[in-house]
Each structure stands twice: as structure tokens, then as C-alpha cells.
Symmetry: C2
Subunit: 156 residues, 2 copies
DNA sequence: GTATATGCAAAGAATTTGCACTATG
DNA sequence: CATAGTGCAAATTCTTTGCATATAC
């Protein structure tokens, strides 16, 4: 647990209890959490935790390169604890995000046409293997956006 | 103008005046418009045009492959009239989106690890050439998100 | 002790929904 | 005429802001 404290200190971030808890959650968890999910999970440990703190903390972490902010899910930001270059697959049926382990050679350049590149994002949209297999869901039209509220499908 | 009508009819979309106007605007305009921008531009032609219709129309067009919905700009969806595969560059200072004319070979596959791929999105975040050149703006920290309201910078 | 972080409540903005009205085939 | 599209207003949801309190150094 002192490792996390060092990670923050090294980057000039005050290691508060909230920040350490968030960093632990995002690092362990291999998933791509939303503020909402993270808040729901962490209020169990910190009952007074506010979403404001989560917004502040995750933007700070993102600026310091500790997490990556994903704009895949329309209408809700997601955060990835894995900073190493990789791509993502977004399932338009269940809303799940799956890691795709390829990296873009072009992004390494650091600049394109004079524009400074800070981040490289690659993602694919479609229907995931599980949703394709699930009967009655096979004919989902491409490009259809499913709002967050009615997208909760368990992949048990 | 009858060409646009045919484009819609061919895909089983009723060619209403609103839809034809939207299709014309998105096709001509090489930019990546938001609902807000599109509404501001089109109320001049159709004073009664509602944002609801724009949301409906653009989602329909996206589902039919006439436009591509971009989730690059955090907090606001953008629509691209160019469907051909290409990437995008998002400037975190001015919020502008610039086309990057490279295409991803992996995306052509149609499927990855059993997941069906409908769309391929690649984008880079950073600071654009113009904003780098503008004095006093050169030290923008990477990853910082600028809300839409205070991001209006003219590139005249 | 001072600067910074947290948390609450309220404000702001994008998107969705319900329903009456209108236009298309 | 019947079906499908449009538009208004209200509701929802995500995100940001202001300020008082609490915490780290």
C-alpha cells in the first residue's frame, strides 16, 4: 500500500486517503469504470466520498498520466487504469468495453503535420462475441446508441 | 438536390424537408458539427426546427451509415459527413477536430476475437499547430479537458 | 499555520421522453 | 386515410462551480 503512496508523491500529488483509494481501485480493477460505478463501489469504504472528489481526482490523475480518460461511451466518461498503449472495443448492445491488444505505430511519432500528439486513442464499435451468441439479440443495427440507463446486461 | 432525395429513398428513409436539409448541411460541410452548431445554422432555413429532430435524424443517419458519430469531444457528440475511413485529431486547447488521412488496416478485418466490428475510430489528442504557434498558449498540460463553453477560439 | 483537498448543494449543459400535431406515401 | 415524422416542454443524467469545512505538510 506504501507503493501507491510513493507513486503519488513522486508526481507531486498529495497522497490523501481518497486519492489512494481511487488509485487502488483503478489500478486493480482491469475494467473501464465510470464515475458513477466508481462512486457506487467506493462509498462502501468511504461513506462520505463525493462525486466531485472523483471528478477532481480522475482529472488530476489523467493530467499526470496515471490513468487514461476514454470518450468511447457516448454521454459518460470512462477511465482506464492501464496507461500502456492499447485499443478498445465497445459493444453497442451491452455497453461493455473490451481491451484490444494492438498499438498504433503512427502514434509513436509525437507529432503529425505539426500538431503535438499527447494521446493516441483507437477503438472499434460493434457487437461483442457474447452478445452475438445470445439468442434474440443478433440483429442489432450498426451504429445504434443505447443510453446508459437501459444498457445493463449481465455477462454472468 | 434530387440526388440527396435518392440517397435517402434508396435506404428506406422518408425524404422529409428536415432530413434533406440536414443531409445537405452535413455533406457539404467538411467540419464535424455538434447538434448545437447544426441547430444554430439550420434554424435560419427552418425556423421551427427542433433539436429533437436533429437528434432523431442524426441517429437515424448514423444507423444507416450516412454519417459517423464521433465521441471525441467529451460532453458533446459530433457528426462527420465523411464516412470513408480516416482518423481525427482533437486539439485540447481550441477543441477543433482535424482530419488525419490514415486508415487502420486492422479495422478492415470485420471481426476481432469473435467480436463483430461495425465501426473503426482512431483519434489523437494534443495541441494543434495553430495553438502551438499562438503565444501564451504553448504550455498547456496534456490531458486537460476544456469545457465547451469557454473553448471558443477563432482560427481566423 | 498555511496551502490544498474534500464535500455538499446548486447551477449548467447535453440528451432523452411523452404527447399532440403535421406531413408523407 | 394511415403511418411515420416533427416539435414543444418537461424530465434525466452527466459535469462543473462556489463555498465552507477538514486535512496534509
Amino acid at each position: 500500500m506504501n507503493v501507491l503512496k510513493d507513486i503519488l508523491s513522486e508526481r507531486g500529488i498529495r497522497p490523501t486517503f481518497q486519492r489512494l483509494t481511487v488509485l487502488a481501485a483503478v489500478s486493480e480493477n482491469r475494467s473501464h469504470v465510470t464515475i458513477r460505478e466508481l462512486h457506487a463501489a467506493l462509498v462502501k469504504k468511504i461513506p462520505t466520498l463525493s462525486k466531485t472528489t472523483l471528478y477532481n481526482t480522475l482529472e488530476l490523475f489523467s493530467a499526470k498520466g496515471l490513468v487514461r480518460s476514454l470518450s468511447i461511451d457516448p454521454g459518460e466518461a470512462r477511465y482506464d487504469g492501464v496507461v500502456a498503449p492499447h485499443h478498445h472495443f465497445y459493444c453497442s448492445v451491452c455497453g461493455r468495453i473490451i481491451d484490444i491488444e494492438i498499438s498504433c505505430p503512427t502514434g509513436r511519432a509525437g507529432e503529425i503535420h505539426g500538431h503535438r500528439i499527447d494521446e493516441v486513442h483507437g477503438y472499434f464499435k460493434g457487437v461483442c462475441r457474447d452478445c452475438l451468441a445470445r439468442p434474440g439479440q443478433t440483429s442489432v443495427p450498426p451504429g445504434k446508441h443505447i443510453p446508459a440507463q437501459r444498457r445493463r446486461i449481465s455477462h454472468a
